[in-house]
């Protein structure tokens, strides 16, 4: 997916971490091998000083230095919302205030699947960004009546505009499998949760297209080095070469065309904005043939 992207992966990641990209909900997927607090630290480090950080903690009892407000998590969503909302700006305030609001949740697994949607939709707004850590491989109890309902993790992945997935740095696939089998029995080997780790960024563009990049990260030096860049460039090159000489037409796309293509908003995105309530969105255009007398033709 990253192969034909025109953008620099490091720049996109930097923009996401500093909340400059339009990503109201960033999901951090972590595991026992590499916990996600390092990403919360990076976001706090990159965020502008005027940002109000509301830290909702289910796992830690220590208020991080960067947090403006510290809220203890609770299992009831309504109570949790009641405790967070006083710190969020009202719609009028958000128009006037220049600073951003950032909510950090250190473990969203404590919120059950049916309540996840309510929590996220009520917190996220144009002036409020949400960064939530979810633990992978954290099983959840699902009652029989909700067996076919998506799991919390699936819902979160569906709703997130950017997903940052963390992996411990491993040498090769064999080492990865060995590690997985050890962690399955909670036998924790040395070298996990180290400052060096692997990060996969899935960034959903406005067009609905998802771009995926992998980075090698160092949390002490705060560096994010894209990996597999060579492979993706080679793939892109191959794609270009394959189209050359096939026809008398030019089938290749220039960089400018690629950028324009990425920025096209696909029509189904309108249906995901949750504001239209399932109504048919019709935009009248000048060439449309509209008959006022026909009651069945009223698109509104």
């Amino acid at each position: 997916m990253a192969s034909l992207s025109s953008q620099n992966p490091s720049v996109i990641l930097q923009r996401i971490l500093s909340l400059k990209e339009s990503t109201p909900f960033i999901l951090v997927l972590d595991s026992i091998g590499r916990s996600g607090h390092c990403i919360l630290d990076e976001v706090a480090r990159e965020a502008e000083s005027s940002t109000t950080v509301i830290y909702v903690s289910f796992e830690s009892t220590r208020k991080p230095d960067y947090a403006t407000y510290f809220i203890e998590g609770c299992s009831t969503v309504s109570r949790l919302l009641d405790s967070i909302q006083p710190f969020l700006p009202s719609p009028e305030q958000s128009k006037l205030s220049k600073g951003k609001y950032l909510i950090m949740i250190d473990c969203i697994n404590f919120v059950t699947a049916p309540n996840t949607v309510q929590l996220i939709t009520q917190l996220v707004s144009p002036s409020v960004a949400l960064v939530a850590v979810a633990h992978k491989n954290h099983p959840e109890y699902r009652p029989a009546e909700l067996e076919n309902y998506p799991s919390s993790l699936q819902l979160l992945q569906f709703m997130a505009s950017s997903i940052l997935e963390l992996f411990p740095a491993t040498v090769d696939d064999t080492a990865e499998q060995e590690l997985e089998s050890q962690l399955q029995r909670l036998e924790i080997p040395r070298g996990l949760n180290s400052p060096t780790y692997k990060l996969t960024l899935t960034n959903r563009r406005k067009s609905g297209r998802a771009l995926r990049y992998t980075f090698k990260c160092d949390s002490t030096a705060h560096t994010f080095t894209p990996i597999q860049e060579d492979i993706s460039q080679a793939e892109a090159q191959e794609g270009t070469e394959a189209l050359e000489g096939l026809t008398t037409f030019n089938l290749n796309t220039s960089n400018k065309q690629r950028v324009a293509k990425e920025q096209v908003a696909l029509p189904f995105l309108e249906a995901q904005s949750f504001n239209t309530g399932g109504a048919i969105v019709y935009e009248f255009e000048k060439d449309d043939d509209y008959d006022e007398e026909d009651p069945y033709e009223d698109p509104f």
């Binding site: 916990s35 607090h37 404590f110 491989n137 954290h138 959840e140 070298g191």
Partner: protein
């Protein structure tokens, strides 16, 4: 094996077992000890208690006579250490178990407090709701003199004793304790832990889900995980098992110390445990 050099136990890179940085005001941390079938964590619990009370894990690598001598010396000139409050809460051992272990080093029972939740736990709390019992337990464990070091031995049994979820146990018990006590050690039995992951279609029983969630939660909120397990190759005359010290999920970036990741072999014989490098 007698010719192999014995190694001192150290958990942090300042060569300490329980670093003084952990007890700074406003700091609250957790350590997680996991153990499996055939490798009892009693020696490690004793070592941690000795470290907090006497300043060093005296019974490790030393004969009992030598450990008693050192303990006597330290107790004689360590009146200042009485300011430390140590507590143990166990759901699998009664108070006699700890008094007998620490009594061998002539440590006065007034220097530590044992909460025996093995004897009469069900009778004592019969008819009360899970939430109320957890509140009572937190009050008991944090009563004055407030401990600054608490060991919880197999608190996961509360999941089944009180019929509560792992999230409730974490939020209403473990978190409440970590908020008040500077350092807590959670000792958990993980033999049955088998987490196939969320991608698999394998069905896990509700009890197992709660157990896995509890153990995972403990890993994420701990600064270090101390894993005790038997030898992979089976039994050996000169080795009982391995102790692996690894970083946990919680960050230590606010402290000047780091976890000293290490793997020891250990051999438990009578009253002493010896540590070696592989």
């Amino acid at each position: 094996m007698t010719s192999v050099q014995k190694q001192d136990l150290r958990l942090f890179d300042d060569h300490s077992v329980l670093s003084q940085s952990l007890f700074r005001p406003e700091n609250h941390h957790a350590l997680f000890v996991t153990h499996k079938l055939g490798t009892s964590p009693a020696w490690l619990i004793n070592a941690l208690l000795e470290t907090h009370i006497l300043g060093a894990p005296l019974t490790l690598n030393e004969s009992q006579a030598s450990a008693i001598n050192t303990a006597n010396r330290r107790l004689a000139n360590a009146v200042t250490r009485s300011t430390k409050n140590t507590a143990i809460a166990s759901w699998v051992h009664n108070s006699e178990f700890f008094h007998s272990a620490l009594g061998k080093l002539k440590i006065d029972p007034s220097r530590y407090k044992v909460h025996d939740y093995l004897s009469d736990f069900v009778l004592k709390y019969h008819g009360k709701t899970g939430q109320k019992i957890l509140k009572n337990l937190v009050q008991e464990l944090t009563a004055e003199p407030k401990p600054d070091f608490l060991i919880l031995e197999q608190p996961e049994l509360l999941l089944h004793l009180l019929n509560i979820s792992s999230d409730e146990l974490h939020l209403d018990f473990i978190n409440q304790l970590t908020k008040i006590i500077p350092l807590i050690v959670i000792v958990s039995y993980t033999e049955a832990y088998d987490n196939p992951g969320t991608d698999t279609s394998e069905r896990i029983s509700a009890n197992m889900i709660e157990q896995i969630r509890f153990s995972n939660g403990c890993v994420f909120k701990s600064i270090a995980v101390l894993g005790i397990r038997p030898l992979k190759t089976g039994r050996a005359k000169d080795v009982t098992g391995t102790l692996t010290i690894t970083r946990g999920g919680a960050s230590l970036s606010h402290l000047p110390i780091e976890v000293a990741e290490n793997e020891y072999l250990f051999q438990t014989q009578k009253d002493t445990t010896k540590l070696f490098y592989r």
